[in-house]
């Protein structure tokens, strides 16, 4: 049971600031759960820790996890509520949708990218885009199958001198835009903390009737005749795609007393056109970071040679 003793020592160290624990006592609790009740070690540890937290009257976020925060690559994050340490570059910073969020964006290392959220209340230094950091003690989270990390009060942020190459989990796709789906154009999002759900008739599926915040987006389908890919253009990408800015879209909707006119206007401009897009893949969607409208074909000659050679 060397294993359990190690766990017991880690727990003692972790709560050192808050509780005066004896390794033997911790070990005893772990053993009872694991040996007597046949609880898996992870679960036993979770249970014991939560007992101590309750005793100490502290929150999970208040605990320095010490040595137990394992260093991982972002692509290896595959479970929520794990304390991990990552070394990554800030690839992208997005506009926080709530005052409770200090920074939100994308972190990347050699293995890929992951979304991160830094809470305002955690009072952490500001991360700079393009800079590499060692982020100790971040918590993993999951939403609809997508993993992210959350920085918290105990997170340590250390600037790294070296550069971290960001692995290419971004995908490129080229095809004709064959469909613009509902929920495109001028939309309203829920303003609640960390909720960005798109409102349906002024209602958020989580928070009910709310005063929505305007946003632009296009949900579409790119198709190259072999594969159909669902893509999302966020506000910035939609503005780049259609040349229509959010303010202009709001004015247009205001004049028409209807937000639908925005989607109609955009659809006429982009449907049936060819695009090359690039961006990370979340679930079934490719989120467009970069795009290029494709005009005349580059390779008539090559195709002709191939066709004649059959």
């Amino acid at each position: 049971m060397a294993d359990l003793r190690e766990h017991a020592e880690e727990i003692r160290d972790r709560y050192d600031d808050h509780l005066d624990l004896e390794v033997e006592a911790v070990l005893d609790r772990l053993q009872t759960l694991v040996e007597q009740y046949k609880v898996p070690v992870d679960e036993a540890r979770r249970s014991v820790e939560s007992t101590y937290r309750e005793e100490a009257g502290i929150e999970r976020e208040d605990v320095v996890s010490g040595g137990s925060s394992e260093e991982v690559e972002v692509a290896d994050i595959d479970a929520p509520e794990e304390w991990v340490t990552i070394e990554a570059t800030v690839v992208d910073l997005w506009e926080p949708r709530s005052d409770s969020i200090a920074q939100v964006g994308l972190l990347g290392d050699e293995s890929g990218t992951v979304k991160f959220t830094k809470w305002a209340k955690s009072d952490l230094p500001t991360l700079a885009e393009g800079q590499a950091y060692r982020l100790g003690n971040v918590v993993t989270d999951e939403y609809e199958g997508q993993f992210s990390v959350k920085l918290n009060r105990t997170t340590t942020i250390e600037e790294l001198d070296r550069e971290i190459e960001v692995g290419d989990d971004a995908d490129t796709f080229e095809g004709a835009l064959v469909d613009v789906q509902s929920g495109s154009g001028l939309i309203k999002r829920c303003p609640e903390e960390d909720c960005t759900r798109v409102l349906q008739n002024g209602r958020c599926s989580e928070h009910g009737d709310v005063e929505g915040e305007f946003d632009l987006r296009i949900k579409g389908v790119l198709d190259d005749g072999i594969e159909a890919r669902e893509v999302i253009f966020d506000q910035e990408a939609t503005e780049a795609l259609t040349g229509m800015e959010l303010e202009e879209a709001k004015d247009m909707a205001m004049d028409a007393l209807d937000t639908e006119v925005v989607a109609e206007e955009m659809t006429g401009d982009v449907l049936g056109q060819y695009y090359r897009v690039e961006g990370p893949v979340f679930g079934r969607y490719l989120l467009v970071d970069d795009m290029e409208e494709l005009g005349a074909p580059e390779t008539v000659e090559d195709t002709l040679i191939k066709a004649r050679s059959i």
Binding site: A176, D223, I226, A228, L271, G272, G295, A296, T303, A307
Partner: protein
């Protein structure tokens, strides 16, 4: 993972081949299973995407509007029909003044005439105006996809090619020729001697 059915790909096919795709089938007995047109080069098509020149439009409806458009590519003519259930496409056909380059996404439809001939047409999901560069890009893309299908036509594992042979015969070469002719129109060069 989501259990939503995957979206059907929009095949690229020239008008000459499309109009020969008179055989339709389903992959299952389920009433709501998707319908496929069988392309003579050995592929199933539940949806197509094409770009061509709208040369003519006419309201052929009796009681309500029912628009027919002729859309021409380098190999032939696509017929599209749009009525009250395709309001966006119908209003596009109503508004547009031919000639105009248009991009169309839509579903293959067949109907049998009184003389027993099967006509193939398109029920459009969308019709949008595009420019010549986009039309040329489509021609090259459609040619590439056609060439790929013809190349795969003889593979033994190709079930749709086997089906096409049974329905239409062994020879897919005329569609390859169509693709070559189409490419030549935008290359702006004369047909070479073989």
């Amino acid at each position: 993972m989501s259990s939503a059915p995957t979206r059907e790909v929009a095949r690229r096919v020239f008008a000459r081949e499309f109009n020969d795709a008179s055989h339709t089938f389903k992959e299952s007995d389920d009433e709501r299973a998707p319908n496929y047109a069988l392309l003579p080069t050995g592929e199933r098509a539940n949806r197509v995407f094409f770009v061509g020149t709208l040369t003519e439009k006419e309201d052929v409806g009796d009681d309500s509007e029912y628009w027919r458009g002729r859309i021409v590519d380098p190999t032939g003519t696509f017929f599209v029909y749009a009525g009250q259930y395709q309001p966006d496409a119908a209003s596009m056909l109503r508004e547009l003044q031919p000639p105009e380059y248009v991009a169309v996404a839509g579903k293959p439809r067949t109907y049998e005439t009184e003389s027993g001939q099967v006509n193939v047409s398109v029920r459009p999901e969308s019709i949008t105006v595009v420019d010549e560069a986009t039309r040329d890009r489509w021609v090259v893309e459609a040619a590439e996809r056609t060439v790929d299908r013809v190349e795969a036509f003889d593979a033994e594992t190709n079930e749709y090619a086997a089906m096409a042979r049974e329905q239409y015969g062994d020879d897919a070469s005329e569609y390859l020729e169509g693709a070559i002719e189409a490419l030549e129109t935008i290359e702006g060069e004369a047909a070479p001697t073989p």
